[in-house]
Symmetry: C2
Subunit: 454 residues, 2 copies
């Protein structure tokens, strides 16, 4: 195998990291209004990076929310076009006390980049800029290349669908490339061929109109926390299935063939349990762990709060209790239908002695990529070049709602070339990304372009 690409990456690595760190230092948390300005800083930085990498033009587009950056290099309008998608925004960083280094002061330690966004998705999307830069600067591009970077992926891309609708010409392409997923492990390359959808709600339960003394009123007035817990407990049965009527009606059931394929994916359940320190796993009865996360819907309370949360023992019967509920959806399920279903179901089981408000917050469809797509096969070859193994097709539990929207609105399939690792702790404290994966990722992307048209 020719070492030119590897050597080029090694030679420019320090500069690459310096550029990436500039991006990582911007606290572009999309779920917090106070970071609105940071999103524009991230957009400016991306615009600069795209131009430097070889785009003919790069521009910041306003939306009703955070800005979108678009850049392109059209070498020949008659040639097919690759559209690279990534996101500039990151997740919140709480709880801060669990970080070993400041989330927005990236550092290199133990061969990894540490900081919020190191993997998801600043680190991963940045690799595409550097792969493109290599090809553009060495005149090896065989495709027109477009880049779109959005600033609202972590809050469900509320404004991107409209942007797509309004810029179909601009975004026209033959395939979309995204690096925002992970491999099975550092030595087991894989390509994500399925993503779960998402439906996310906030529920507010109101009991009395003010916090009451739990001694004077306790036993006579319904407590909104007790009642919220009862509602949540009712939403799942003993077999780990949602009890919402009709919830499973549209689920595409996995074929035996697919289940056999999933069973071939190397998976060490003991190591998995040990890594997260649990004695036992728990999920829907009758399915393996990989089936549960890849092919089955799930239900998680992402947050809950109400009453007295401070030090000591305050005896209060609170007025309000809240929870953030989410379900992951699979192929066949429509997230908007599910959102409405959940609102109606919770309202139907809410007792008369409390007030309940359920509001859908965001959602997205599940996605599936066919294995016979020429670009999928080019990606397979690229991974084989770099990792010396054929990548396994894997359905992952995470959601990238916009991937389904691209398919729906532009009619374009997406290749999910993820280079993240489970231990990267995306969405958690101490997010990291190994420098080795960073280098291999850039090389794999460069080789992907080389294998097109073969």
């Amino acid at each position: 195998m020719d070492n030119t690409i590897k050597q080029h990456i090694d030679k420019h690595l320090d500069r690459y990291l310096e550029e990436l760190f500039t991006l990582l230092r911007i606290p572009s948390i999309s779920s917090k209004e106070e970071h609105k300005g940071d999103m524009y800083k991230a957009a400016e930085q991306w615009k600069y990076l795209l131009k430097m990498a070889g785009c003919d033009s790069a521009k910041i587009y306003e939306t009703d929310g955070n800005p979108v950056v678009f850049g392109e290099k059209i070498i020949d309008p008659a040639l097919p076009t690759v559209l690279v998608y990534g996101h500039m925004d990151v997740m919140p960083v709480e709880p801060l006390n669990l970080w070993d280094s400041a989330p927005f002061e990236p550092v290199i330690q133990h061969g990894k980049i540490w900081g919020r966004g190191a993997d998801d998705d600043k680190g991963q999307s940045f690799m595409h800029a550097k792969a493109f830069e290599y090809l553009a600067h060495s005149d090896q591009l065989k495709r027109n290349v477009k880049f779109i970077l959005e600033g609202e992926e972590e809050i469900g891309s509320p404004n991107l669908p409209k942007f797509i609708d309004e810029h179909k010409e601009l975004l026209a392409a033959d395939i979309i490339l995204v690096s925002d997923t992970s491999m099975l492990d550092a030595k087991t390359p894989s390509l994500t061929t399925g993503l779960r959808g998402l439906s996310y709600w906030q529920i507010e339960v109101t009991g009395p109109n003010v916090d009451l003394h739990s001694g004077l009123f306790g036993g006579a007035v319904a407590n909104p926390i007790n009642e919220l817990c009862k509602i949540i407990a009712q939403l799942q049965d003993d077999k780990g299935r949602l009890t919402v009527p009709g919830f499973y009606d549209d689920v595409t059931e996995t074929t035996q063939e697919e289940r056999d394929l999933i069973a071939q994916i190397p998976f060490d359940e003991e190591a998995y349990k040990k890594a997260i320190d649990v004695k036992a796993l728990k999920g829907e009865e009758g399915f393996s762990t990989l089936e549960r996360t890849g092919t089955r819907p799930s239900f998680d309370v992402c947050g809950i709060w109400g009453g007295y949360m401070g030090e000591g023992a305050k005896t209060v019967l609170p007025s309000k209790a809240y929870a953030k509920l989410s379900t992951r959806l699979v192929a066949g399920q429509n997230n908007e239908k599910i959102a409405q279903m959940m609102v109606e179901h919770i309202n139907s089981i809410a007792p008369e002695y409390i007030k309940v408000k359920v509001e859908p917050m965001h959602g997205g469809q599940a996605y599936e990529c066919p294995l016979d797509l020429p670009e999928y096969q080019a990606a397979e070859k690229a991974y084989m070049d770099v990792f010396d193994k054929r990548p396994l097709p894997v359905k992952r539990g995470g959601s990238i709602p916009i991937i389904a929207a691209f398919e729906e609105k532009l009619g374009i399939k997406t290749i999910l070339m993820g280079f993240g690792l489970e231990e990267d702790a995306i969405h958690s404290p101490n997010e990291s990304f190994p420098i080795d994966m960073f280098k291999k990722g850039i090389e794999t992307i460069i080789r992907f372009y080389g294998h097109l048209d073969e």
Copy 2:
């Protein structure tokens, strides 16, 4: 009726309020370590108030926690002694945004004193100092009087039992007077003849050892919030009864006679519901609202938290979830036995795929006062003088754990001469105390001393 007392109170009212406000301005929140210094400020102020009111001596005693203030006036060691108990500490003030005025900057508006502690218990205990002052300064005392003010009532008086054990001589008395309860309403005087006990725990549920991505892991790993909700939901059945085995074994069941008496207490359920804005009440099946709060145990989650509680939608499968659980107990139940029972029961129902830690935080016994006690009858007469109605004996749902401890350790019964009103919103934002009740309370206490020995 002689108006001398009333006129005296009116004449000195401005000074009384000025002195009370000095006390209310001290943020003596016992559940927060940062207010430790404020507890000493409150103690110094009380020491000053007792001396000014006519105590021969007043002293601050150290404990392993917050200080205790003791003062006394012994007019004749051969005479019976009244021991007045009150507490200097107050509840936390969160949520601050719901207060219309700053909690520790008391103001008078609409005929009420507004501020944390205006009623519970600075306002109420202060009335005893002023009643005593009147009697001592006019040489009308017929009893020796002792005062004890503690600084940990709102956190369950953890150090007062030891203080009592070590100062039995000092505290020796024939009756204890406490104003830390409320009347049925401003025109329906009542004396509290029963108080519920309390048992309070914190529960911590741990799932994975770090927060996980709910997409990647959701459906395969137990979510500690979902599981905490299931545990809480399991602790009560459809009939509003605790499901903890043995929980009701020691409950003294109310006799039909008592139930008939309770049924005579004026109670407007529609007004009660309207005041707290609930469509329906909810409690243990087969009991009226007053029975539920006065004679039956109850179960309330006082606080719950876990996962992402911020703005927006973070998709996380959290590592931990917490709740503060409390039960109110009734005569017959032992709070320590119940505390242990709950710990064992929750541990027994906790599934293997999560870790659960249950810790008792505080507790206290229930209390009952017999209606034929001479001092209870003197109190009845005093209320009749001031409110023109015979006070009703009422069992209240609140807990003052130390009242049961006084009986156990010193063998002294307590008269609960409360002047609070339900709308005073103790433990809640916008705590208040009507000036009219403040004046009537002082007069009632003065007249109580007058009716002793009749």
